[in-house]
Amino acid sequence: MKSKDRNYFKILRAGINTTYQDLGRNNLYHIGIPFSGAMDKRNFQLLNSLLQNDYNSPVIEFAYQGPHLKYFGKDIFFCISGNVSFKIITKEGVTDGNSYQCYLLKNGDEVDIQSTNKSVYGYLSINGTFSVDYYWGSCSINTQAQIGPNNGNKFSKDLEIEIIDINNSFNKRKLDYLGSTIENIRVIKGTNYDYFSESSQNKFFKESFKITKLSDRMGMRLKGPKIENIVDPNIKSEGLVKGVIQITSAGDPIIMLSDHGTIGGYPKIATVISADFDRLVQLTPGSNIKFKNVSLEDAETLYKLYQMETDNLISQIK
C-alpha cells in the first residue's frame, strides 16, 4: 500500500492499558482461554451503533488514562463511549470533546484522551474498521496470555493503527446518555456458600467492601470484613465464569472479570449477575461496594431488562 493511501492513527502516548477488543472468543475455556472482549459491553455496543459499524467490530479500549493519537489519511469520523475527558487538536485549535458524539478528523488532527471520569473503561472507534488479525475468531487482546493482535500486548508509543473500509456514506450521529451507575452489586449465592460461617454470610451482604488497586481485566480484589471459612479454604479446582466471587484463604473476596483464569480452587461465595457486569467493571479502586442477594429467576429477568434498556438507548441514536 502506498503511504499516501494509508489511513492510520499514530500513537503519541499509549495510555495505561490500551487494547483492541470485540465481543471476545467462545468455547476455549477448556484449554484455559477466557472470553476476554470489551469489559463494558453496553458501551461497546453503543459505540459500534453510533458509528454504524458491524455489531462485533473491533474498538480501542482504554483504562483510566487513554491514548493520545495523531491521525493521518483522508477525512474520517471518530466517536468515544464511556465517561471520558478528551481533547481534539486541529489546526484551528484545541476543543473539548463529548462522549457519544461523532467528530470529524482531518489529516494531522489529534485526539488526546486524558482520563475516564469516576469510571475505569472507555472506548474509541471510527466509521471504518481497524485492520486487525483474528485469533480464535476474535481480535480481543488478552495481555496476560499474550493472545491477539500486537502479539497480545497492550498498545505502546509509536504503534501505527491501520484503518480500512472507511464508510463514506456515514453521517454524524449522537446519543444523549449520561451513563448508568449502580448502588448495590446484585449476586446469586455461590456453590460453596455454606463453606462460610453464618456471621460471615451476614457480613457479606450487610457490610461494604473496598475495591483495591489490585484490580484489572482479570479480576477485582476486595478488602472488607474477613469472610470466615468453616469447612475448607480450598476446593478441588474447577471451572470459573465471569462474575464468580471467590474467597481466598486470607478471607478476602476476588471477583472474576473478562480475562479471568478459567479454573480456580477457592470456594465460591456468590456470583455477580450478568445484568450488573458493565457497571461493576466501571467501579474504580478505592470505591466501596455492597452485595445484594437475588434469586436466579430475578437475575434472568434483570438481564432481559438491562438488554432492553441497551436496545432502547440504541434506538435513541440520531
Binding site: 467462545n26 468455547n27 476455549l28 475455556y29 477448556h30 484449554i31 484455559g32 482461554i33 472470553f35 485469533y135 480464535w136 496476560q144 496470555a145 499474550q146 493472545i147 497480545g152 446469586i188 455461590g190 456453590t191 489490585l214 482479570m218 479454604p233 480450598n234 478441588k236 479446582s237 474447577e238 471451572g239 470459573l240 465464569v241 462474575g243 464468580v244 481466598t248 484463604s249 486470607a250 483464569g261 478459567t262 479454573i263 480456580g264 480452587g265 465460591k268 456470583t271 455477580v272 449477575i273 450478568s274 436466579l296 437475575a299 434472568e300 438481564y303 432481559k304 438488554q307
Partner: protein, 224 residues
C-alpha cells in the same frame, strides 16, 4: 453419570460428577465434555471440564437455566470417546532462584528439600484437565507425604514456567500470572503455543507427564 446440576451464577450450569477426584470420575467428565462439544448446541458459549465437574456457560439471550438443564439431563452417553494418550517428558530446573517455595514446603512437609525433589521426580503424572491460564495442565497424583495446601495469599505474579504443587496435584504455569501453588522449580519448555491455533497445548487431558531434573546450565542452554 451426572449426579446433580446446579446453577453457577445466572449463565452457567454446574454439573457435579461426584466429590472424589480420581481418573474414573474424570474420564466421565471428559466423555460428557466431548459429547456436548460435538453436539454443537446453539447458545453454548463455553464448556469447562475439571476433575469432577463440568461447567456449561450459555448465552442468556438463548437459554434459561431450567430449559438447558433439562436438555443436558436428557443426554445419553452411548459412545466411548477414547482419549488420545501421550507420554511427554518435561525438563525442570530446581535452582534456588526458581524453587520459590521450597522452604515453605520443607517446613510444612517436615522433609528435606532433596528428599522432596527426589519424590517429586520419581513419579509419572496423569493430566486431569487444562486451564486456569492457557494450556496449564493439572496433573496428579502426588504421594500422600507430598501433599500440602496452597499459599494463604496467592502471589500476584508467578513466573512463567514455574512448576508447583498443591494437595495431590502439580502443574506448570504456562504464563506469568497470579497463583497460589507451592513452586518447586521452573521449566524452560514452552507448554502453550499461541501460533498453533488448532492444537496449542503441549499437554492434553489423559496424557502422562514425566518430569526430569536439569541443571541451571542445561536450563539456560534450552532457553537459548
Amino acid at each position: 453419570m451426572i449426579k446433580n446440576i446446579l446453577n453457577l451464577g445466572d449463565a452457567a450450569l454446574y454439573c457435579d460428577f461426584g466429590s472424589d477426584v480420581n481418573q474414573e470420575i474424570n474420564s466421565n467428565v471428559i466423555k460428557y465434555f466431548y459429547h456436548i462439544k460435538k453436539l454443537n448446541l446453539k447458545g453454548i458459549t463455553n464448556l469447562t471440564p475439571s476433575y469432577n465437574k463440568l461447567i456449561i456457560s450459555y448465552d442468556l439471550n438463548i437459554h434459561s437455566f431450567l430449559s438447558l438443564k433439562k436438555k443436558i439431563e436428557n443426554i445419553e452417553i452411548k459412545e466411548n470417546n477414547k482419549l488420545e494418550k501421550n507420554l511427554i517428558e518435561i525438563p525442570v530446573c530446581c535452582d534456588k532462584n526458581f524453587a520459590l517455595d521450597i522452604k515453605r514446603v520443607e517446613n510444612k512437609l517436615k522433609l528435606k528439600s532433596e528428599i522432596i525433589l527426589e519424590k517429586f521426580f520419581s513419579k509419572n503424572y496423569f493430566c486431569y484437565m487444562t486451564g486456569f491460564v492457557a494450556g496449564m495442565p493439572f496433573l496428579g497424583d502426588l504421594n500422600q507425604e507430598m501433599r500440602l495446601k496452597r499459599l494463604e495469599t496467592p502471589r500476584v505474579k508467578v513466573p512463567k514456567g514455574s512448576v508447583g504443587i498443591t494437595e495431590q496435584f502439580c502443574n506448570i504455569y504456562t504464563f506469568e500470572t497470579p497463583g497460589g501453588w507451592n513452586i518447586l522449580g521452573n521449566t524452560p519448555q514452552n507448554i502453550f503455543d499461541t501460533s498453533n491455533q488448532s492444537n496449542p497445548n503441549l499437554v492434553n487431558p489423559g496424557d502422562t507427564i514425566k518430569f526430569y531434573r536439569i541443571t541451571l546450565d542445561q536450563y539456560n542452554e534450552i532457553k537459548r
